[in-house]
Symmetry: C2
Subunit: 299 residues, 2 copies
């Protein structure tokens, strides 16, 4: 159990990061924060967090550093950039990447950290904005056991399912599996809705009939109703899913593993992102189908 007077740095205050860091603040940890757009830090600054001008500055004099940013390039910048965590003059004990990025990148960061005597964990999450707000995230951890036990008390403030999968990168690998399922279940749901529409069924009645049994999924229960209401708002922006599916495909390529369902969902989400729908929720897959069904099916 880590004492709650241990100073902590938090980098990245999007919707997820703000909720997660807020739980650490609530628990009493002295918190230093940094994020690209300073205005996003205001709510936590008002609650007592301390501002830092860079990731490097945030990491100075903190024992643990958590980062929750968007894209792999930002992850690299936060940890390895000229003003990154690993340039700090005083060394933190453990640094943690909670963003979804490639296992390869995380292994690279871990290696450089280890040479400086710093523990590294990859700890991507699932559960979305709601899970972050309610501290019910699933946290998938890769890295050395001693490093995990150092920050376990912090993870317990953010999530309810915390699983140690193995070496550095294994948390990311589990998240890759998670995203494969998210993408594939959405393709299934969108196709089901297209078929239901085209055959003239009432899709709400269809959902009532199929939603409780062997055909059911989180996607069907939670996102198909949003499709039916023409609600394309983002709980999770599809640009991020497109990025995650690309990581999944690259991981398969490295393994020489061919997964045609994954290849399909990756292709569909890339196309949708290229067409400018990246800020929409993942359920906007249906839109693409309606627009360009034939070319998609053949592409």
């Amino acid at each position: 159990m880590t004492a709650t007077n241990t100073p902590i740095a938090w980098i990245g205050l999007g919707i997820m990061g703000t909720s997660m860091a807020g739980h650490l603040l609530d628990a009493g940890y002295p918190l230093t924060i940094h994020t690209r757009t300073r205005s996003r830090a205001e709510p936590l600054l008002a609650r007592g967090a301390k501002w830092a001008n860079s990731s490097q500055e945030a990491a100075e004099n903190c024992e643990f550093v958590f980062s929750m940013v968007g894209m792999p390039a930002e992850v690299e910048e936060v940890f390895l950039g000229p003003l990154g965590v690993l340039k700090s003059k005083s060394s933190p004990r453990v640094i943690v990447n909670m963003a979804t990025s490639s296992p390869t990148l995380d292994r690279k960061i871990a290696k450089i950290a280890k040479a400086q005597g710093i523990g590294f964990l990859d700890a991507p999450v699932s559960g979305g904005d709601l899970g972050a707000r309610n501290a019910t995230l699933s946290i998938m951890v890769g890295g050395e056991a001693w490093a995990l036990s150092e920050v376990m008390s912090c993870f317990e403030r953010m999530g309810k399912t915390i699983v140690h999968h193995g070496d550095v990168g294994s948390g990311q690998l589990c998240k890759v599996v998670n995203q494969l399922l998210v993408g594939a279940n959405m393709v299934a749901a969108a196709e089901a809705l297209m078929l239901s529409n085209e055959t003239g069924l009432d899709s709400w009645k269809m959902l009532e009939s199929v939603g409780g049994g062997a055909a059911s999924s989180w996607t069907l229960t939670n996102l198909v109703p949003r499709m039916l209401r023409d609600d394309w708002d983002s709980g999770f922006s599809l640009a991020y899913l497109a990025k995650d599916l690309k990581i999944a495909v690259e991981t398969c390529q490295e393994l020489g593993l061919k997964l045609p369902g994954l290849a399909l969902s990756q292709r569909l989400y890339s196309r949708l992102d290229e067409l400018g729908h990246g800020a929409h929720g993942t359920q906007a897959l249906l839109k693409l189908w309606k627009q360009a069904e034939a070319s998609l099916a053949e592409g």
Copy 2:
């Protein structure tokens, strides 16, 4: 509310049919039964059901006829064959096909029935052997409202979600959507497990991390553990899913609708059936993957 002294005929006593007919017997309906293999009728005969030598004979002197057989060819035989229900000398009021078959076939039977003054319903189910045993099936009904109200009391003995989708064939169309989802969710689950295996993750830990959130599905919760235990027993034989997916693909062809995820799952399940795995449970998809992954991915 139909009086429980209304004489009923039941045709088809597989695992599902036996449970479903048993509920009608328990409710007190006088039941006449027929099935291809007489020995399968013994348990219900011992409980007071009456034997008939053909579908035609079963239908004589009964007001309602329910049929629950396996393949579309058998459905056609039961209703339209030389010893079929529609050859009976005395007309039943309503006849019901509860098997999954093509909407086109059911429309054909309905038309012939109507010419004889008989109501027809398509009423395929989901929920499997457990749903049949516990009378918790989802029953998807197509056909005229008057016919449904005649047999509603019987349906209520067998299922808990009974939805009227519209004209004859619409129950089958909804079941087609259901099976599209079942097939696609299984492809997703099998690919997730392959990726988990190949990356060296502990798949039980993977399930713990991904099973509770946005990646979750009935398949992941119920059938992936069976894959992990090398348990290929059938709750639902994949030969039937292969048949259902073929109906789904044919339905899309009639509509000019291209659904690449459905095309993939149909291709995989046909291959598996051709290779002689038809009697295995649908979770045996994983086996095929392990055997012939590259050719499947490219086929």
